[in-house]
Amino acid sequence: MAFAPSKGKKNLRKEKGSLTLNSMMDMMTIILLFLLKSMSTSGALIRPSEYVDLPMADREMDPKKAVALLVSAEGVFKDTEGDPQALSLIDELEDPANPVLPGLESFLVERRDLALKVGQAFKGEVTIQCDKSIPYRWLLKVIATCGVTEFGTIDFVIIKKKA
């Protein structure tokens, strides 16, 4: 049988306790400052694609906005922020009769013509996120296709080597 609660205890005035948030605030402030510092504006221009494993190199050149392509083990894709669209698949890349890739060529020609049509200065810059395992022969075909469509500045996205 449960005893009746004590009358004295029932009327005991409870002190209002307050949570000390100071240490938590300190921690949060440090984390916030660290995250703000590590967030760079240039990094936001190019986000590494989840579909490719980028190679590592000792380079410092900052990313810039240009026509973006993805070259993965499945083919060449138009990089559209999370939803890549196929331009040239393996059959085109492995076709020895084709030194250039027709799908990629038509896309680049379209981009070049569009830039000229709207009066933009056409710099012929293309940024490629290329998987580190893709064979050299594919790479040469991509470069050759960029060359014939007047995209003369090719930038490969790499992961910076830690010093």
Partner: protein, 202 residues
């Protein structure tokens, strides 16, 4: 003039605490947001400029140029490194027979390319064959901007071609491009051949 506080004043001052709950709320929102956009790996660009039509492979019909020979045009070094299955071949002046202008760097015992030996060897080529910088050349690009670059004894004194088998992975090509760019000596970076041209394996 300020009045002296009353001696009879006995009211205790209450502790006032700053209400930090709204700031905490802001932090709780900001931190996950920044974490979601933070890039833990730093990315950069590796610039590749395909050679101009005129500067492409030498005329197939002409005889290989002798070292230091100057024809009507400025002499070319034609430095090529070839990544093969068993070694790295280094060739100058289009030579393909073993000698001072064609040699091989064997693989390391663990079966990987000896990048250190290649880097040292290219530094030796740069000093022995290319020599010191002779001055600066300038050229106007298609956008009307002037570009300046160092001039050497050879027209292609900063250039190197890389060839490899078709199945060579891209990471190895990038590694080769890195190795051919600079030589570190006494903690200082010395320029080697920063302009790389990717070519078909022949």
């Amino acid at each position: 003039m300020a009045f002296k506080p009353s001696q009879r004043r006995s009211r205790e001052e209450e502790d006032t605490e700053l209400n930090i709950t709204p700031i905490m709320n802001l932090m709780v929102v900001l931190i996950p947001l920044l974490l979601s956009v933070a890039q833990l790996t730093e990315i950069a660009l590796l610039e590749y400029l395909p050679p101009a039509e005129a500067a492409e492979a030498p005329d197939a019909g002409s005889a290989p140029e002798e070292p230091g020979q100057k024809g009507g045009e400025e002499a070319r070094l034609s430095l090529v490194i070839n990544l093969t299955e068993s070694n790295i071949q280094v060739s100058m002046f289009n030579k393909v027979k073993p000698g001072p202008h064609f040699y091989e760097i064997p693989l390391l015992p663990e079966g990987t390319y000896d990048w250190k030996a290649l880097n040292d060897s290219l530094w030796s080529v740069k000093q022995r064959e290319v020599g010191p910088q002779l001055g600066l050349d300038s050229t106007e690009n298609e956008f009307g901007e002037w570009e300046y670059f160092p001039r050497f004894k050879f027209l292609d004194g900063r250039e190197l071609s890389i060839t490899a088998r078709g199945e060579t992975p891209f990471q190895l090509i990038v590694a080769a491009m890195d190795v051919c760019r600079f030589h570190k000596e006494d903690g200082e970076k010395r320029e080697l051949f920063p302009v790389t041209v990717l070519k078909q394996f022949e």
